[in-house]
Symmetry: D3
Subunit: 69 residues, 6 copies
């Protein structure tokens, strides 16, 4: 499946924190660069998310804000 979201950054799952409804997934996308994702617990289980798994962080370009110091 190919999707219209512009960003699909390859990474490795570093941590998984399951809650009641949602699961927090920490993905290392480059050495020392991590992004935090919150997805539903049902999705995390269905995708087999676990530490060490290779995944993509998928982000729509309109969900990427830009900040400057």
């Amino acid at each position: 499946m190919k999707i219209s979201a512009r960003n699909a950054v390859k990474g490795t799952v570093k941590q998984v924190h399951p809650g009641a409804v949602n699961t927090e997934v920490v993905i290392e996308i480059a050495s020392g660069v991590e992004v935090v994702s919150i997805i539903t617990k049902a999705s995390a289980e269905s995708l087999g998310i676990a530490e060490g798994k290779e995944v993509y962080a998928v982000i729509k370009s309109s969900d990427v804000m830009v900040a400057v110091d």
Copy 2:
């Protein structure tokens, strides 16, 4: 200003494509890893977005989806 969005990834602006209303900003967040952002043209101008500028890609954790092959 400190914000509740969990992800603020440091990077460098590689390309800026201004449209009529929105501007597309390509940010290199690690060697060879780029994310595309679409912000309003007004914001891009107000922030002084230009090639080479150091910026942060700011993303809410609930806007980061996870995909697997």
Copy 3:
């Protein structure tokens, strides 16, 4: 690729309206039921979106609001 977004509804592209930056795509997901999507023009071209094409409308569950009369 399998994604964490909970909704991937199969449908057929009915109309494509390309703009300068974004493209509006009308997808029929059931007889007489259409959803409108706005994606970047670059994505629409990269995915080969055209009338009659079979696609999925992919929507995060937290982006589905509920309304009552």
Copy 4:
């Protein structure tokens, strides 16, 4: 009230799963076609969401991604 979100798809609530803060609502929008929505528990209660209730799934067009096989 009429809203700017482009998609308001009529459907029937099939399942309601209340959590601590959020409630998952499964809406059948056509025979065999369901969408999953996550709204706050407070909203679900205030709207009287229950199995069998007629509701609308309301989705902004920019929140509808498109995927192809």
Copy 5:
């Protein structure tokens, strides 16, 4: 229609800037407090958005970030 989005703040349209696809709407929600909205031009026309019109700014609670100095 009653919607699950938690915030529906009453206001008055101060400015309307139509673009090719999107329209920017400036809404005064309290004396001297304005919020900027971008909706599709089709929606703006369908809702009859014009200066002086009484409207609601509708925002999901998960789309409200919090920042501190």
Copy 6:
């Protein structure tokens, strides 16, 4: 830090409701005008969110819908 989100409305925290993963924050942005925000508990703690604190409600313009009666 200056961010591309167009709306940063000053306000005062009126209520804080921490959940397991998320925290609900009620912000008064003008006399009698409140907005509800849901952020992660980790963010709320990291920002020191508490009743009486001065904060900004930060909202992307594309996340502000418009409704009319």
